[in-house]
Symmetry: C2
Subunit: 286 residues, 2 copies
């Protein structure tokens, strides 16, 4: 399937996968090598699941879920399948985040520490709650067949915006959590003396930021959007009233009609119908 | 000047201004009421300029600089004027950020604390350096008249992306800094006992996030983009080769031709010439 800047896309996708993978590896090395390992006994070994599951679910998997529509080799797959994969990945991320929260709460109960007093806790809980709401709303509106097209069109730009905002805020929260943890545990030798753990986890923080940056770049390139129709048929009106626009525009293009032109024509017709709609909606909900 | 969803835009703009203003006020209350006030004597009173100048410059002013092209009452102003305002606001933000860094460095020298060991320090310094580079590059390419259009078109999507990434990362850095500071200073009573300062500054953190969310919403609505040409002339081809496309498309629209249609036609021609270009470029550089 043709895609503009396919090579560039592949380079960025592979980079994102590598950097995302690296962030998970770094988190595992952090807890296994520096923080005593993993366990489920209430102690800090149980707490250690918190960063591992958050980086795996709320950074890596959520990031992949965001760009899954942009993989050009999936453009021949049905929209329903891709929506299911998008929803499935986000569900996995939500489950990992929930287990991750259980680990913190059990550890804090065990150690008799107050819950949710820090900014990390406040923002983090808010992000997880809104993430689950976003998942439920997305499932009800976009995956189940009952929501009317007009409501899907209305909700889609909000869904896209909220999703990216939640992803960004998840990264904010994780870096606040990393900051908290390092100041707590790095006392002897102190964080300020550049101990290996401090340098290593600072690097992890950077890797997470780079992953976020790559996902944001990939998802905001207009030329890498999934085309509106998986198998573009020339001159086929894309539903609803067409007012004969596609036909005449297509004719006026005449000799140099190709897939790109066809796409443009559909777009003109679609945007003519409702200029207010975000372009993302046009391709994502219909 | 007509704009789609003008009322919605105004509501969001006023909200962003209020929330941004509130974040500055909260920061001032934090340092003046809870942290002993401001000074320039090397002590923590000098450090206190750090959050004040960062929230003022790197959150509030940078946020306004990002959305300044979207104010519809400026659409009659020349692009050069708006670029100068955009660059000017970002310059003010960069100057405030620099003074803010001087305050930290002098305070750390005075107290004999190591520089730049925390993730906050690493990310923060990186953001300020890239922010200044972005400012210089933007000035050279977009404000000075010498860069060729093709290079401006190439750079514009990168400039927009980098700007938003820097703004987001500035917020990440500030919330890490807030986390650090609260854990340092809130020892008696401890942060974990919900002292007024902790609750107050957690709230400040939320306010900053909401401000970021509002700016991101405003800047990503396609219908609120500054139109490509300040005074749109019907059927006027927008430069370069037109292949008779605008004419025939316009004719096919016929009776319901209006400003929006005219804009669409221009867009079709423009995108036909180079589909790879980000739409943002189309409106921002030519």
């Amino acid at each position: 399937m043709a895609m503009e800047g396919y090579k560039g896309f592949l380079v960025l996708l592979v980079s994102a996968l590598l950097v995302g993978f690296l962030s998970v590896i770094f988190t595992l090395v952090w807890v296994l090598h520096y923080r005593g390992g993993l366990g489920w006994d209430g102690t800090d070994l149980e707490f250690n699941w918190h960063p591992v599951l958050m980086v795996t679910g709320f950074v890596f998997i959520q990031g992949i879920a965001i760009i899954v529509y942009r993989l050009p080799w999936t453009w021949k797959c049905s929209k329903l399948l891709m929506k299911s994969i998008h929803a499935g990945l986000n569900t996995v991320a939500a489950i990992l985040a929930t287990i991750s929260l259980v680990a913190v709460f059990e550890n804090r109960n065990y150690r008799n520490i107050t819950h949710l007093y820090s900014l990390h806790g406040w923002v983090g809980l808010t992000v997880v709650i809104f993430y689950v709401l976003q998942l439920l709303l997305g499932f009800l509106v976009f995956l189940l067949p009952w929501a009317p097209l007009s409501f899907r069109s209305f909700l889609m730009p909000i869904h896209v915006y909220s999703g990216l905002l939640l992803f960004g805020t998840a990264i904010v929260t994780i870096l606040m959590g990393v900051t908290e943890k390092l100041f707590f545990v790095l006392t002897n030798p102190a964080y300020s003396t550049f101990p290996p753990e401090g340098v290593f986890v600072n690097t992890l923080g950077f890797i997470i930021l780079v992953f976020g940056g790559l996902i944001f770049w990939i998802v905001t390139r207009p030329q890498w959007k999934r085309p509106k129709e998986p198998t573009s048929t020339l001159l086929q009106p894309n539903g609803a009233t067409t007012e004969g626009v596609e036909g005449s525009v297509a004719t006026s293009y005449g000799h140099n009609m190709d897939k790109s032109d066809s796409e443009l024509n559909n777009e003109v017709a679609a945007r003519k119908r409702n200029l207010a709609l975000d372009e993302a909606v046009q391709r994502s909900t219909m």
